[in-house]
Amino acid sequence: MSHFLSPLFETGFFQSEAVRTALIIGTVVAIVAGALGVFTVMRGQSFAAEAFGDIGTTGGSGAFLVGAGPLPGFLVFGVLAAGAMELVGIQRARGRDLATGIVLGAALGLAALFLYLGSTIHNTTGAVVTILFGSIFTISNSMIPLVAVLAAVVALILLVIHRPLLLSTVSPEIATARGVPVRLLGATYLLALAAAVALCALTIGSILSTALLVGPAAAALRATRRAGRAVLLAGLLGVAAMWLGIVLAYDSYYWPPKGNGWPVSFFVVTIVFVIYLLSGVPAWRERRRAGRTIG
């Protein structure tokens, strides 16, 4: 590592197996989350993404109870939630919000039970924090192939459906008139979203997962007029937040309280939030300038 970067990268950063695994998984997940996130923001389905994350808590805690890793739990419950949302009629905004809210409440109640039982039986509370808030440094490098395959499947689905999905997002009427299976497309997209949220939950925790999905995408959408560029930019911003978060978390080992690093998720989510705030600055300055010329 060149000397001028050494204050940022504490000794042993790139030698650490845990850091390397975190960087690889974080990068893959941030890219997929950015791409899905752009469509999520455009379609106004951030609440659905949030619901997948919260319901993933139930899946993750259920998996913990039976002694499995959290990712399969996140994934299975997310996909089930996507199916349930489609069945209750995601097309109608009112019914959708109500049904999502009710299912969400029930699922989180179940999560409370699973987490309590799991902590009691396994005699540990660490898993609770891991499920809720993530713990990217504890992910085993044997997870990399599974994460990569899942991410590739999600990316492939989006690649195949992105054009008709964009058209049906712009105007469901035009898309239907042109023979696009709008409802099937919406359901396929929801499944991909559920998988992407599961991946985010693995890295920064189930209840923070939406931040990585929606934050970089919302910032990217403010910065560009083109959908393709928004997807690229969202991925880039997500990766930047992830890397910076991992670096800072690694460094925080030497911050007070000494010997205990701060959680990566805190850094990632805070950086995403700052990026989103900064993305509003150009528009804000333009408004101020316009206000001055008028006033």
Binding site: V160, A175, R225, R226, R229
Partner: protein
């Protein structure tokens, strides 16, 4: 809702679908598009049966309001008209870009081609949508209430544009409106919907007291006042000051 509605529209002509709110204009369009099944009857397009996913029909839906945050320039929305219904990746090519450019020029939208669609005015969005519908080279262009929410000048511009497209590209342009006035200067034929039925023909032959009385099933007055024509459909029919004006009205101006 609609019963025994039969008419024809022709390539190269501008046809208006006139009726008050709730007369069934959108339903009729949906039947033509194949989105709503008709209980009986059929639609022939270019001599053949209309099939679903029909590239022969271009469609501009009613009340199109795009979110200002949608990352889509006017030229991107037009390009989506080429093949956005297909799955997989579209290779960007010069031919695609040039075709979109041509369509933007055809609807006088080049000036705002690089702006976000959601930030355009209602009239500008209508032009972009028309270009989006036309780029697939349809034989029939359906526009559902394209003049709704437009100021008078934008409405006149959109009507003139649609008439020009019908003549120049030799396609059938069929647009619905609850207000007939803006269409009269260019309309070749009118399909007048009321009471679940329709009459059609050249505007001067349809918008007459005897014809509309038969359509409505009760007496209807068509008045010519200072170069304007006013349809009074009588009690029970809410036409809300429905005004008709012929450019060459007998009463002169």
């Amino acid at each position: 809702m609609l019963d025994d509605v039969s008419f024809e529209i022709r390539a190269g002509e501008f046809t208006g679908l006139i009726g008050s709110n709730g007369a069934g204009k959108t339903t009729l369009f949906r039947v033509i598009l194949g989105l709503t099944p008709a209980s009986r009857g059929r639609i022939l397009l270019a001599g053949g049966a209309r099939s679903r996913r029909n590239p022969l029909i271009g469609y501009v839906p009613q009340k199109f309001l795009l979110d200002p945050d949608m990352p889509l320039r006017a030229r991107d929305l037009v390009a989506l008209g080429i093949d956005a219904h297909r799955f997989g990746i579209a290779r960007p090519s010069r031919a695609r870009r040039e075709r979109a450019e041509q369509m933007l020029a055809a609807v006088d939208a080049l000036e705002f081609a690089d702006k976000r669609v959601g930030l355009l005015s209602g009239g500008e969005q209508q032009r972009v949508l028309i270009a989006h519908a036309l780029i697939g080279e349809p034989r029939l262009l359906l526009a559902d209430e394209p003049l709704a929410n437009l100021d008078l000048r934008s409405a006149d511009e959109v009507v003139a544009l649609l008439a020009r497209i019908a003549r120049e590209q030799q396609i059938a342009v069929f647009i619905s409106a609850h207000e007939i006035n803006p269409l009269l200067p260019v309309m070749d034929r009118v399909v007048y919907l009321a009471a679940g039925r329709a009459v059609s023909g050249p505007a001067k032959e349809v918008v007459r007291s005897d014809v509309l009385s038969r359509l409505y099933g009760h007496h209807v007055d068509v008045l010519h006042v200072h170069g304007r024509v006013i349809v009074i459909a009588g009690a029970g029919e809410d036409l809300g000051g429905h005004e008709l004006r012929f450019p060459d009205a007998e009463t002169g101006s």
